[in-house]
């Protein structure tokens, strides 16, 4: 969890808003630091987290998480974290027989129909357990990342339907939060990715967009972060709720500063 980012978003683990969908988007740079931030943020907020990790292995997230002060292994054993490791369980689809459909069942189908098994997995993971005091505050779904599903042959509309159902269950029914990462390839011809990105953008309450600098790679400024607040509950909340900061990623933290105000320049 990066404290400076919490300040920019005006939130802390104790008093985060619920029922919100946050879209993380990266263009020409690597936005995974945002995923690590939200993972550690919600674990520290004592939420039940379901992490659909399609991009990296469990140990990768664990190593980074330890730098940010959370232990994913312990969280998984405690039952706070439900981790779907896409890289490993994709192989299980082919080599293990299971009664109920595997979450990544679409890999076996010639025409990847829909992501209903994946949604059922998420719903099963986050449903509140009956009979027992509530150990966790609210459920959170984290997906890293959605563009991988497109690469695996799922259609953009099917992915949007999956997000819709997750939003209906996690955000509306269970009053939890969702954090989704989608890559922006910047390619105008990649229609499926553009439909997916715009479709999720319209459904989201907060959009964090990490972009590479227009002038190229820089040692002291790794990129630019644009924050856009959407769908305020009151329509008169300022429309120009859009902020831009530049950032530099260090070993255990990320520092943010206004454009052009990098400490290396001043």
């Amino acid at each position: 969890m990066f404290v400076e980012l919490n300040n920019l978003l005006n939130t802390t683990p104790d008093r985060a808003e619920q029922g919100k969908l946050t879209l993380l988007c990266d263009a020409k740079t690597d936005g995974s630091f945002l995923v690590h931030h939200f993972l550690s943020f919600y674990l520290k907020a004592n939420c039940k987290v379901c992490f659909v990790a399609l991009f990296q292995s469990f140990s990768h997230y664990n190593i980074v998480g330890q730098k940010l002060g959370v232990n994913l292994t312990v969280a998984r054993e405690r039952g706070q974290l439900v981790f779907l490791e896409g890289l490993k369980s994709a192989v299980d689809v082919f080599f293990q027989t299971q009664e109920e459909p595997h979450p990544l069942q679409f890999l076996r189908e010639a025409n990847a129909g829909n992501l209903k098994p994946l949604f059922e997995f998420v719903r099963e993971a986050l449903k509140p357990v009956d009979g027992g005091e509530a150990r966790w505050t609210y459920p959170v779904l984290l997906v890293d990342d959605l563009s991988v599903l497109l690469s695996l042959g799922v259609g953009a509309v099917a992915v949007l339907d999956f997000i819709h159902y997750c939003r209906a269950t996690v955000c509306w029914e269970l009053k939890g939060n969702m954090v989704i990462l989608v890559h922006d390839s910047g390619d105008v011809e990649d229609e499926e990715n553009n439909i997916l990105l715009n479709g999720v953008s319209h459904q989201s309450h907060l959009i964090l967009r990490a972009e590479g600098l227009a002038t190229g790679f820089c040692r002291d400024v790794h990129g630019q972060l644009r924050i856009l607040w959407r769908r305020p509950s009151q329509p008169t909340a300022q429309r120009d709720q859009s902020l831009t900061y530049q950032y530099k990623i260090q070993d255990k933290s990320v520092s943010f500063f206004a454009k052009g105000m990098s400490p290396a320049v001043l």
Binding site: N114, D161, Y165, N198, T236, R239, D240
Partner: protein
């Protein structure tokens, strides 16, 4: 109304713009109006859709909402109870594709619900709000959707029907970036009014294109903002602070004063300059001077000593050139 991503010298009355949109020809039965609102990620259109829904409800119409994108609570939020009583929310948000396999799913999907609304028996005017057209367009073939919308608008023009059916107005919200120009154009051609949302610096604007039958299409841009209770507030233009201000008290400085050289020409100097013939410009006077040898002027000779290697060709074609 397709609200998508664009001041009259007006009074700013709330009724003005909406009157032109809703074309309240209440006495003219069977008057169809359909409009489309197109929004973008930055300028969202649901607030405007809710404002128009509220306006319809206040006029006494019954409003049906095909809600595919937001939950019923979220849509009803901000409306007071008498408006909420007039809204009928058809919920396609919770389980639109029937994944839960329960009996609750509405039969026929959104289009079935749309047709069922139109088959109603009460004759009052009805407004149908589609939230959103984009969802329908992504899940249904474009032709099916266009045919359904067309049927809705023409369903009350069957001849020989003695009972007058009230007018049906359809409001649709479309997210412009999600679709290619083909489907957007097809829906545009069905719509009588198209509203594209945009804005600058926190001020929202709506570019309204009206196509009335047998009239020329009109378009105008209207700045507006939506109040917390979803009533529309029309404005003249972006607020003053956002425009670049030029200070009228400082006169523009003339940089050509106080120079040590002269940048201006007097009238005589200008005339002399204009009448000057450029040295390499071939005018008629020059041509005459060259053609007519001047008397008293020594003609020029060219003395040529041919080399040993020179080839004096008697049949040189250049010799009979007459310049």
């Amino acid at each position: 109304v397709t609200l998508s991503e664009g001041a009259r010298a007006g009074t700013g009355r709330e009724l003005g713009m909406l009157d032109s949109l809703l074309s309240l020809g209440g006495l003219v039965l069977g008057r169809k109006w359909r409009g489309r609102a197109m929004d973008s990620v930055e300028w969202e259109g649901r607030s405007l859709l809710k404002a128009l829904v509220k306006k319809s409800a206040l006029c006494g119409e019954q409003v049906h909402i095909l809600g595919c994108e937001v939950s019923e609570e979220e849509f009803r939020e901000g409306f007071d109870s008498d408006i909420n009583n007039r809204l009928v929310y058809h919920d396609f948000f919770r389980d639109p594709l029937n994944w839960s396999k329960t009996e609750e799913a509405l039969p026929g999907g959104p289009l079935g619900a749309l047709r069922a609304i139109c088959k109603r028996t009460d004759p009052g005017p009805v407004t149908i709000a589609l939230d959103s057209l984009s969802w329908l367009l992504l899940h249904l073939p474009c032709t099916t959707l266009c045919q359904a919308l067309h049927a809705v608008s023409h369903q009350d023009s069957c001849p020989g029907d003695s009972s007058p059916v009230g007018k049906v107005s359809v409001l649709g919200l479309l997210h412009e970036e999600l679709h290619g120009p083909g489907p957007v154009g097809a829906l545009s051609s069905l719509a009588q009014t198209e509203v594209t949302l945009g804005g600058t610096k926190g001020q929202a604007s709506a570019h309204i294109l009206c196509r009335r039958p047998r009239q020329r299409p009109t378009d105008q841009t209207q700045w507006f903002s939506i109040l917390p209770d979803f009533s529309l507030d029309l404005q003249e233009g972006p607020s003053v602070e956002s425009q670049p201000c030029s200070d009228p008290h400082i006169p523009p400085v003339d940089p050509t004063t106080h120079l040590t050289f002269n940048l201006h020409l007097s009238k005589k100097e200008r005339e002399a300059r204009d009448s000057l013939i450029l040295p390499f410009q071939f005018s008629s006077e020059k041509q005459q001077a060259l053609l007519r040898p001047r008397p008293g002027q020594a003609t020029s000779h060219i003395f040529y000593e041919p080399d040993a290697y020179d080839d004096l060709d008697q049949e040189d074609p250049d010799d009979d050139l007459d310049i």
